[in-house]
Amino acid sequence: GINCQGGSRMCCRQEFFVDFREIGWHDWIIQPEGYAMNFCTGQCPLHVAGMPGISASFHTAVFNLLKANTAAGTTIGGSCCVPTARRPLSLLYYDRDSNIVKTDIPDMVVEACGCS
C-alpha cells in the first residue's frame, strides 16, 4: 500500500491516530494507548483501477494508461480507493461493573489501500 504524504492525490492510506488520553478514555481503556483509525483517500484514475495495493507497479501503470487511453469511453462506473488489508484492534478495558474485559475487534485498523 501507499501511505499518503505531501501533495499526492493518488489513492493512499491516510494515517490518523486517536490518543485515548486526548479524548479522556484512558481511565476505562487499560490498553492500548490509542487507536490507529487510518482511512483510504485519493483518486483512482482509470489506468490504476482494479489494481489494489502494491501490485500497482510503475510498468503496470504505464501499460494500463496506454490501454485506458485506447479504451477511453468504453468503460463505465468509477473506481474507489478502499482498504485492501485490515487487522483487528485488541482492547483491554473496564466495563461498568469494573470487570476487566479483553477482546479483539476484527477489521478495525486499515493496513493498506488500493483501487477497487
Binding site: R9, W25, S79, C80, M108
Partner: protein
Amino acid sequence: NLQTDGPCPACWGAAFDLESQRELLLSLAKKSILNKLHLSQRPTLSRPVSRAALKTALQRLHGPRRQETVLEHDPTQEYEIISFAETGLSSVNQTRLDFHFPDRTAGGLEVQQAHLMFFVQLPSNATQTMNMRVLVLRQYDTNLTLTSQYPLQVDASGWHQLLLGPEAQAACSQGHLTLELVTESQAAHRSVILGGFSHRPFVAARVRAGHKRRVHRR
C-alpha cells in the same frame, strides 16, 4: 457527512484537510469503538480495581495467545472477562463471593470456559479440606439455592485455580454468580481465603456474545 463532489466519498479530488476535520474524525472513532463493543456510552467506573489486583489478573489473561486466523474466520466476537469478587456474608469458615457479569448484547453471553482464582494462606506444612458451593437465584425466589458443591483439597499456600462447571457457567451467563468456599477445620481463628487488595479472588471467563433463542408465535 464529509463534503465530497464525486460519486464516491473516497474518490474526491481535493486533498483532505486532516486538521479541519479532526473533531469529526475523533467523534467517528468514539462511535465506531462503542458500537463494536455493543456499548451505548463509555462505562463510568464506580468501583476502581487496585493496581495489585489488576496486575495479578493481567498475568492470568496474558496466557498463550491463540492464532489470530482462528478469530478471523469466526465472525462471533469473543471476550475474556475478569470479574473481581465482592465478599458477601462471610465467617471464619465460610467465604461468600459475588461476581457480576455484563449482559453483553441483548442475546446475553455464552460462557465457553470459566475459572475461579483464589489465594489461600495456610500455616506451614498444613493442608486444608474445603467445599466449594455454587448458589443461584431461582425465578420468583429471593433466597439463594444450592445447585452443586465440589470437594477441594488444598495442600499449599498461594493462588489456586478451579475450573467452574456448567451450573456456575450458566449463572455467569445470567449475569450474577455466587460461590461459597467452606473450610472444614474448626480450629481456625481467621479465614484462610485472603481477600485483600492484591489477593482479591476473581473469575476469568472466556465468553462469546450469545444469541438468545427466538420464540416464534405459532
